[in-house]
Amino acid sequence: MSATHALRPGEAVPGQPARSHGGVWHVYRAERRKLSTQLSTRLLALFCVLGPFAFAGVLKIQSGSPADTLFGVWVHQSGFALSLVVLSFCGAWGFPVLAGVLCGDIFASEDRYGTWKMVLTRSSTRRDLFAGKLLAAVTFSVALLVLLAVSSLVAGLLLVGDGALVDLGGRTLSTGHSLVLVLAAWLLNVLPMLAFTSLAVLLSIATRNGIVGVVGPALIALVMQLLLLVGSGVWLHLLLASSAFQDWYALFTAHPFFGPLVVACIVSVIWIVASLLGAWLLIRRRDYAGTAVSRRPGWVVPVRVAVGSAALVALLAIASNWGPAGDTAAKLKASINPTFNNLTLLQQRELGRTVAPGAKLNVLTNCSRRASTPTGPGDWICNLDVFIPQPGAVPFQQTPVTYDVSVQSNGCYKAESPPSFVGQQTMKDAAGNQVVNPLFVIYGCFNPL
């Protein structure tokens, strides 16, 4: 059958079935099938399911704990703490690596196999292909995050138990409250995970190189982690995509603060939009001209990129002092004081001593930074003088406790004191069970904004 008039947009070619157009959903289905058959995807899924169980199993057979990570000392006592430790690890490295391995090759593989010319000559438009592939990347990224969340919770609850979780304010949370907060914490990581997914997609499209797409997000996360360690200003730190992985800690403080959480969500969305916009413009404007006229390999471009990246990192390091200081002595003091109070009372209760509801210690706290600059992340020291009332000529007994505090740019800290002050990492409770000494390591967070 011949066409006897010019076809309008959307009108079927004579002799063609009416349903011949691809569309986003069909691209998504094809991409989902391709990703499912890839070994790397299967290995990642296996790792996400088995990794937390392996971690819990290793902890089960040894006495040590990942104390450097928030909630780390509690992993032998609460399955929820184990899930949160897994989440902390993932936020630092796991999610960027997952995003890179999963999505960094999703567009570049078409260049590697030379299949752009095949897929672009089907019924699906470039817009369909971009959206469909992106949707598949998002689906698999979120699916892996959900797998990790469920697996870490199940592993924790099965192998450690549903013991009470001690939050970052030193309070003991109920099982239900802990579960809700842990799930909310995982949920809050979806947006930053998608930010790194988008970044992987951008790298995959911009460089047309699967290796850069896969490794790039992890390298960028590494640089961001390093930038979070320097400078005392709050603005640059908040703008880094990596920092959004760490803001769920605010949910676990005695007085949850949502400013950084809102900022983290907005920052993640900005990273997502910027990355995807850049990726789409590149796809849309690209000429698929084959090998003869495509980019020639050489060392000039990689060297330029490396020099440019180094200059950018140096500039960002300088800019890390931009804005007000997030970590100050006043904020640290205001946070560690009630937390120490709550943990001391918890310790006393566990030792079988009667603690009146609402009891409060008289503590005089003084915090200072172990560096010339009195603000910013790094090593701090806090002296807590506890005044215990006693009958007699001297009305108070002063007990000094010194904590070495490691403060992060997001306002979270870990405080450790020598056993001579607070005792060993574990202690025997009133029932004779070996439990964590709540004062051995104090975790806390304050609002850096």
Binding site: M1, S2, A3, T4, H5, A6, L7, R8, P9, G10, E11, A12, V13, P14, G15, Q16, P17, R19, S20, H21, G22, G23, H26, V27, R29, A30, R33, K34, T37, Q38, Y113, G114, T115, W116, K117, M118, V119, L120, T121, R122, S123, S124, T125, R126, R127, L129, R284, R285, D287, Y288, A289, G290, V293
Partner: protein, 321 residues
């Protein structure tokens, strides 16, 4: 009512940096027509096909497929159009069948029987479950044609479709194209070897350095051909050479190997009849350069195709064989 052309390209220009790959090319392919796109390597054939597929955007000019403008890069609609440029490519870690299923999905999905049907049609039914990484060049070429057929195209654009195929495969491909044309499919085939397309195409467009240097029907191309060349073996070669001198259009010479070569302008029939009348038995008359090949050579090179030029062409053709 007049049918709308399957392809109508007007004033197409494509530059890559300082190179003009396609230079003000006009092209029309009607439905049911098989058009050969000829030209030496670097003539702009593949770039022209890329322009028709929307893989590259023209710097100037416009393309209409079935009367519909190709449109912006992000919304190009290739419904009813199929084919490939350069060699067809696939996901090597997947089987041929799964590759086809994925491509079919991008077209809106196809049932398994349709995939089986096209695999059967290109002779890959028994190897459909094998990974593409184990396919030979010819098998990939067949799979590329299967991927194109999967769409039941009304316009088929194929770049060097016989590349990598054995002679039987190339013949089958030609037969397939002719059958599709009979069903109304417009076909545009590119090749740098006119012999591949000689009995397949209804019309030709010849490109040289990005420009159209000739455009017309297969018959017009034959009629305008400067000549043809043959290898001749007779019972009396010396006499055959003498007789050739009486035919102005026939230039005969003896090669160093002793065989007789003929550069013929026009038809060779009268000369052969004269050989018979002179009791010179023709034992072998082998066409070395066809009229189409000589025309192609004339159009795509700076060499004037006089008898000397044709002789040179014979030498080159013989060297190739």
């Amino acid at each position: 009512m007049t049918a709308v052309a399957a392809v109508r390209a007007r004033g197409l220009v494509k530059r890559f940096e300082t190179t003009v790959a396609v230079d003000r090319v006009d092209l029309i392919v009607e439905e049911g027509e098989v058009r050969g796109l000829l030209g030496p390597n670097g003539a702009g054939k593949t770039t022209l096909l890329r322009l028709l597929f929307g893989l590259v955007a023209p710097d100037e000019g416009a393309v209409e497929l079935f009367g519909r403008p190709l449109g912006a890069s992000d919304t190009i609609n290739l419904d009813g159009v199929a084919g490939f440029v350069e060699e067809p490519t696939f996901y090597p870690y997947l089987s041929g069948r799964v590759n086809l299923e994925l491509f079919a999905e991008l077209d809106g999905g196809a049932d398994a029987s349709r995939v089986d049907e096209v695999l059967e049609r290109v002779g890959l039914a028994s190897r459909g479950s094998d990974r593409v990484s184990g396919y030979s060049t010819g098998m990939r070429q067949r799979l590329g044609i299967a991927a194109a057929l999967l769409r039941s195209p009304r316009l088929l654009l194929l770049d060097e479709p016989t590349s990598g195929l054995d002679p039987a495969g190339a013949r089958d491909m030609g037969g397939l194209v002719r059958r599709l044309a009979t069903e109304g499919t417009a076909v545009l085939l590119s090749s740098h070897l006119i012999g591949d397309l000689e009995n397949v195409c209804d019309s030709y467009t010849v490109l040289r350095l990005g420009k159209v240097v000739w455009n017309g029907s297969a018959q017009q191309l034959r009629d305008q051909a400067p000549g043809s060349a043959y290898r001749l073996a007779t019972s009396d070669d010396a006499r055959a050479l003498e007789i050739a001198e009486q035919h102005p259009g026939v230039h005969a010479s003896r090669a160093p190997t002793g065989e007789v070569r003929l550069a013929v302008q026009g038809r060779i029939d009268a000369y052969v009849l004269d050989l018979g009348r002179a009791d010179v038995a023709v034992r072998r008359l082998e066409l070395v350069v066809s009229p189409l090949e000589s025309m192609f050579f004339a159009l795509t090179s700076d060499v004037e195709l006089d008898p000397a030029g044709l002789t040179e062409l014979i030498e080159a053709a013989l060297a190739e064989t």
